[in-house]
Amino acid sequence: MVEYGKFNDIQLDVLKEIGNIGSGNAASSLALMIGKTIDMAVPRVNMMHYSDLAQALGGPENLIVGIMIDVSDDLQGTMMFLLQKEFTHEVFNALLGTDSRDFSALSEMDLSVIQEIGNILSASYLNAIASLTGLKISISVPAICVDMVGAILSVPAIKYGDIGDEVLLIEGAFVGRDDKEDITTKLILILEESSLALLMGRLGVA
């Protein structure tokens, strides 16, 4: 058993590959849905402090769309999609044919679109991992929050607060049209310690 977050290079590579396969699948599903190409950044696996993650998403007060999904069964954890406003606009535009949106007053229709995006992204991400590993993975109905990124990240920070101030993030990213990778949309998978060990075992790098 390894200490939480302390992995060797091979294990880190495997986790990166998990992030790659998961976000790759999620990106193709979303691209298919909105009929546009989506570019991806190389996935990263990091022990990261939540405040640094907030910084990477445009600062703690930046307004973003957060989607949170509970991961259960063989793997226990949380999946989060943090969508920049611009990216969300693009998706709305492609799906609903409207572009200008006031994020302070999202309609039921807008929210169900965001929820559907969450469903598609998480299902395709985790299906890919399930078929690779033979693990049974279930997901919850996506919960949505449009608010300051720091406030949204307080939720996983609290949930995994007992593990430590830092958490291992398997992180993928969609790059926006302006190619500003530092403030891009992120897909994040946080797994509990036992689930990380199980995943490593299944992939032969325990």
């Binding site: 949170m68 919960a143 949204i152 307080s154 939720v155």
Partner: protein
């Protein structure tokens, strides 16, 4: 406004007037300002969880951060009998109805723990803006004792 002293997550700071102590984007976390307007000193604590269980970081938990903040204020000349508190945060960011009830009401449990800790320090809460479903940034003016709150959609108000 003077340059603010920024308090991070699981962090706290004390400052003498004139000064502003601030913390960004409180979600389910709670920001606690305690001040003594006679000694003109105040502090802000940003807690993440209600109760400390053998964790090393005292500033992360309501029940250990508040006594620590009070102690630091006393070291800066504040007197316990004159201390007043204002609190903000403890929101429920995601409507996690079916998902995880322990996580769902963590904001509320944080607020309750903050109130209990302040009560055992015998410090009265003069104002609060807690609960609901939105994030808050807090700017506390040590000079005036006014806590300014800013939300994601740029609503700004004082408590």
């Amino acid at each position: 406004m003077e340059k603010a002293v920024i308090v991070g997550i699981s962090d706290l700071a004390v400052a003498k007037a004139p000064a502003v102590v601030a913390t960004y984007a409180l979600g389910s976390c709670v920001g606690i300002c305690i001040f003594d307007s006679v000694a003109r000193v105040g502090g802000l604590s940003h807690i993440l969880l209600p109760k400390r269980n053998n964790n090393d970081n005292f500033m992360k938990f309501a029940d250990s951060a508040i006594p620590l903040l009070v102690q630091k204020l006393e070291q800066s000349g504040a007197h316990r009998l004159r201390m007043k508190a204002k609190i903000a945060g403890g929101a429920q960011m995601f409507n996690v109805g079916k998902m995880d009830s322990a996580l769902g009401n963590i904001g509320q449990r944080n607020v309750e723990s903050v109130k209990a800790a302040l009560q055992s320090e015998k410090i009265r809460i003069y104002a609060e803006d807690t609960g609901k479903d939105f994030g808050r940034s807090v700017f506390f003016n040590v000079e005036t004792g006014v806590m300014q709150i800013k939300t994601a959609f740029n609503k700004i108000y004082d408590i």
